[in-house]
């Protein structure tokens, strides 16, 4: 009986965590979009140099999204010939395991690295606006994901656990 409870409980917990991850993804996509908006304003209105703009965005944004901006600022601070896009890509790869984002979300924000900081204000603005619009689309899709898949994950874990138990018996 204890074994049955453990199998069902384990699968159930796995399902609940999956459901939570779906919910967290929506929140993180929203926070990421707001953070990119903040970075855009730092760059296009205040002309803040990229390293400092990343530090300010880190301070402005909530965890765990702000980890990306902190990593990026830290790489840029080293002044080791690293370009903005390399720093941004490295920062995303280093931060990915702290986040609940899907690979497609990460791919999207990786495109933000293209020409990061290395063009005039108008070009930077166009790029940030584009990324924010794309993030909004991802966010809407993620909300739909919550309504359609959250229950499936929540109950699915327990059901799967039950099926495994039946198959074993």
């Amino acid at each position: 009986m204890i074994g049955i409870a453990l199998v069902i409980g384990g699968f159930g917990l796995w399902g609940l965590l999956g459901a939570k991850r779906i919910e967290k993804r929506v929140k993180q996509l929203k926070n990421l979009r707001l953070a990119i908006g903040f970075l855009e304003k730092e760059i296009t209105y205040n002309y803040t140099p990229l390293t400092h703009a990343m530090e300010r965005t880190y301070n402005f944004s909530p965890k765990p999204i702000n980890i990306i901006f902190n990593e990026c600022a830290s790489l840029l601070r080293d002044k080791d010939g690293i370009t903005g896009d390399e720093a941004w890509s490295k920062a995303i790869r280093k931060s990915a395991h702290h986040l609940d984002l899907k690979p497609e979300d990460l791919d999207l924000i990786l495109t933000a690295s293209n020409q990061l900081g290395m063009s005039d204000v108008n070009e930077q603005r166009k790029f940030f606006v584009f990324i924010q619009q794309e993030l909004k689309i991802q966010e809407d899709k993620a909300v739909e994901d919550v309504t359609s898949n959250q229950k499936l994950w929540s109950y699915g874990g327990f059901i799967l656990g039950l099926i495994v138990v039946i198959l074993i018996i």
Binding site: Y47, D80, I82, T83
Partner: protein
């Protein structure tokens, strides 16, 4: 002239270069940097170090040679990474500087840029696809203008409006900067003066984000990246200068502004490109300024015995006491 401290190059310039160039220069003999005036990076061309009048290069092993063909060949990546570091990956923050063709880095060193120039009508919009960088080392030679001070002050205890005349690379900016420092600081012999530097190309004070990186004196205000003519008028109205210092005059509007300065009783010390007085007087605009008595003395410089060699000092204006 004193030799440039090679530690300045290592501390203030080499860190801005691409990792590949940085590593080559770290292997090179540091004492070679004394007297270094320019570092030139051009895509697919050898790295060039201008020391005095001679171009040197460094090969991939860090050996310095005057045979440029043996030099390290600059790649597009070197240019990109150097510009990324110089601009802190923030070209958008340097739009105005890029329009003028250069960025100033901490220490007052000027980085000239070459590439595809984008124009909007007659105005330069930006430069993109960079293909060349000219890193010009800012030289601070404290005391290099001391011997000129007694010529700049007249017997009535006033500062003469002074025109420094020389071809490029003869040290006129360095002398002008030191004059600003000496006049502004004063001494037991000469009373301190309120000085305004109108620094259109950020060369005199070497300002980085508005803060002067070079010593221009304790009573000196700097109007950085400000067009000369506008800056001179603005300074008269708002900063009550006794002396206005600016570099490389030549346009009609500059002449009008100098006239305004003279009317306001403000001495102007400035420079102009010419090899000698005859060449200078062949330019009607400047000749008129001299004939109107707006300049009291002219100092001609050359590189004959090194940058800053004083070739001639001329006195102008019948009523001027020099």
């Amino acid at each position: 002239m004193n030799l440039l401290d090679s530690s300045i190059i290592e501390r203030e310039i080499i860190p801005y270069l691409s990792p590949a160039i940085k590593s080559i220069l770290h292997n090179a003999q540091a004492n070679f940097y004394d007297g270094l005036e320019e570092i030139r990076l051009r895509v697919q061309k050898p790295l060039v170090l201008k020391i005095g009048d001679i171009d040197f290069t460094v090969n991939a092993n860090g050996r310095i040679t005057s045979n440029l063909e043996q030099g390290y060949i600059i790649t597009e990546e070197d240019i990109l990474r150097t510009i990324a570091t110089i601009s802190d990956n923030s070209l958008y923050a340097f739009e105005e500087e890029i329009k003028q063709g250069f960025i100033t880095i901490p220490g007052g060193h000027r980085v000239g840029l070459a590439g595809q120039v984008i124009v909007d009508g007659y105005d330069i919009k930006t430069i993109k696809d960079f293909s060349g960088i000219c890193l010009r080392v800012a030289r601070e030679r404290k005391g290099c203008a001391s011997s000129l001070l007694k010529k700049v002050w007249n017997k009535k205890g006033q500062v003469n409006s002074t025109l420094i005349i020389s071809p490029p690379r003869c040290g006129k900016t360095t002398i002008l900067r030191d004059l600003a420092r000496l006049l502004s600081t004063g001494s037991s012999e000469y009373s301190p003066q309120n000085v305004v530097i109108v620094d259109e190309r950020s060369e005199l004070a070497g300002s980085y984000r508005g803060v002067s990186q070079l010593d221009v004196g304790i009573r000196t205000d700097v109007l950085d990246s400000c067009p000369k003519a506008l800056g001179m008028i603005m300074a008269i109205r708002s900063l009550s200068p006794q002396i206005i210092i600016t570099d490389e005059i030549g346009h009609e509007k500059d002449v009008e502004a100098i006239y305004e300065c003279a009317n306001a009783g403000v001495a102007v010390i400035t420079t102009i490109h010419a090899r000698n007085i005859e060449e200078l007087k062949a330019r009607p605009l400047i000749n008129n300024l001299i004939e109107m008595g707006l300049f009291n003395i002219g100092i001609v410089l050359s590189r004959r015995k090194g940058p800053g060699t004083v070739e001639e000092i001329v006195k102008w204006g019948a009523n001027i006491v020099v």
